[in-house]
Symmetry: C2
Subunit: 304 residues, 2 copies
Amino acid sequence: MTPENVLVETSRLIDGKQTAEDIKVEIAAEVAQRRAAGHKVPHLAAILVGHDGGSETYVRNKVLACERVGFASTLLRYEDDITEAELLAKVAELNEDPEIDGFIVQLPLPRHIDPDKVIEAIRPEKDVDGFHPMNIGRMVAGLPALLPATPSGIVELLARQGIKTSGKHCVVIGRSNIVGTPVSILLAKNLDTANCTVTLCHSRTQNLADICRTADIVVAAIGRPEFVTADMIKPGAVVIDVGTTRVADASKKSGFTLKGDVNFSEVAPLASRITPVPGGVGPMTIAMLLLNTLRAAKGEIHPK
Amino acid sequence: MTPENVLVETSRLIDGKQTAEDIKVEIAAEVAQRRAAGHKVPHLAAILVGHDGGSETYVRNKVLACERVGFASTLLRYEDDITEAELLAKVAELNEDPEIDGFIVQLPLPRHIDPDKVIEAIRPEKDVDGFHPMNIGRMVAGLPALLPATPSGIVELLARQGIKTSGKHCVVIGRSNIVGTPVSILLAKNLDTANCTVTLCHSRTQNLADICRTADIVVAAIGRPEFVTADMIKPGAVVIDVGTTRVADASKKSGFTLKGDVNFSEVAPLASRITPVPGGVGPMTIAMLLLNTLRAAKGEIHPK
C-alpha cells in the first residue's frame, strides 16, 4: 500500500515538500536582496563521476534547485575512469576558485577512489554537504559549522512543523555516518530545536521494538523498506522516515517505487505526525544544501 | 561514606588504576624496544597557563606518567596575562618542532583566551588530547584519529575488564564535549569493544531514573557529586563513574575529598561491576594520553 492509499488526515502529515518550498522562497528573497546590494550570487558546483542513475537524478535536482533560488551552478562531469589524483586536482581547483562558494562531490565514487580522502580534500568552508571531519567535529562541539544536510533538514523540519523536541525521547534507528549518527548528535544538543534524550539503535540492538515503543519521536534511517511496523510505535509518537529505497515496480514508468523505512499504512494511523515518502525528509535535504551554500557565500561559518 | 567504608567484593570493583598500570607497562616496553631500534623516544609537551590548583596537579601527573614510561616531556609555563596571540605563537612553534610528537594545552584557560581557537590551532596529528574537531569528526566517521582520552579510556577499561558491551543498553548521563557526548558516540560504534545501544541523557531529560533503570551499563559524567542513587540502577548493571568533584573535607591534609557522580555506598551493592573514585576512570585518562602520544610518535594516525 502506498501513502496515497492510506487515509491520514492532512494535518498529521509532515509536509517536507512544502517546508522545503518555504525555505527556498526565503533563500530566493535573500539572494535577490544580496544581488540588489551588489553582491555576487551564491555559486554551487557539483562534481559527478560516472553515470549512476540515482546520482544523476540527485545532482540534476540540486542544479534545478539552484536555478529555482537564483544561485549560479556548475556541473562538472567525469567518466568512471578518472583517477583519484585527477579528482583531487579538480577539488583543489574548486577550493581555490573565488567564484565557487561551495561544492559537492556526489557519492558514491568508483571503487578505485577513496571517498574519505576526497571529502577531506575539500576546504571545510566550501563543504556544503557538511561531510568534512572539521564540520562534523565542530558540530559535535557545538561550534559554527556547515551541518550535514539530511540530519539538519530533520531538525529544521521538526522545528518548522512546531513539533516540540525538548525533553522528548527520540529513538534513532540506524547509525550511518550520513544520517543516523549525526542526527542523533544534533537532536541531543542543548538547543531549543533539539534537547532530546536520544537513543541510537542499530543492527546489534536487542529488543528494538521495545525500545522504539518508548519513543516520543522515531527517526528511521536504516535503508530497509517498511522495516518499522505498528508494534514498534507508541500511539501518538512522531515518525520521521529517512528511507528512500528504490523497489522494482512494473506499474511505474520509471520501473520503481520509492519506499521508506516505515510501513506507512500500518504506522500512520498510530502516529500523531508522520513524514510521507516521498515528500518528507527528501526535499529538506536539498533545501539545507542550498542554505549551506548561502551561508558559505556569506562567509558565516569560516570567515574568508 | 567513602568507597573504603563500603563492603564490596574486590572482584566487583573495576580497578582502573591497575588497568592503567598494565597499559603503562606495555607502553614502556614498546618505548624501550623502539629506543633499542634507534628511534627517538616519544616526546610530550604540556602548556600550562596560570596557577589553578587542579590544573597544576593534572599536568604534574602527566609529566610524571611520561617519565614512568620512558617518554621525554617538556612543561611550558606561562602567566595568566599571556595574550591569545602569544599562546597561538607557542602552539605554532610546537606544531613545527620535529622533536615534539604531541602536546596538550591544559584547560581551563584565562577568560581572555578562546579555548576553541587554541585547540583548532593545534595540528591534529599532534593533538594528543583528541579535542581537535578533525579528530572528533574522524572519530564520528570511524576513521583513524587521536581519540579523546577519557571517552577512549572508558571503552578500553570496559574491554580490558572483560565487560561485554555488544547489544547492551548503555545510558550516558551528561552531554559535555569532553566526556558525555564523545563517549556516547564511541560506545555506539560498530566495533567489538562497543556496539552498545546508547541513550544520551542530560539536564532536559524527563524520567531520568526510569531510563537509567533500563541500562545494562551506566556512564555518569555530570560533575554532580553522588547524583546517581540506588533507585536509578538496575540490579546487576555495570556502573562507570567519571565524576571527580573536589568537595571540602577538613579531615584531609589537602582540604578536600574527590567525590564521584555516583553515590557509591548505595549503588555498589546493586552493581555487578563498578568503578571507584578515585582509582577508576581517572588513571585511564592519563594512560590514554600516553597511548595517543605513542601513536602520534609512530605516525599511526596521520602519516608525517
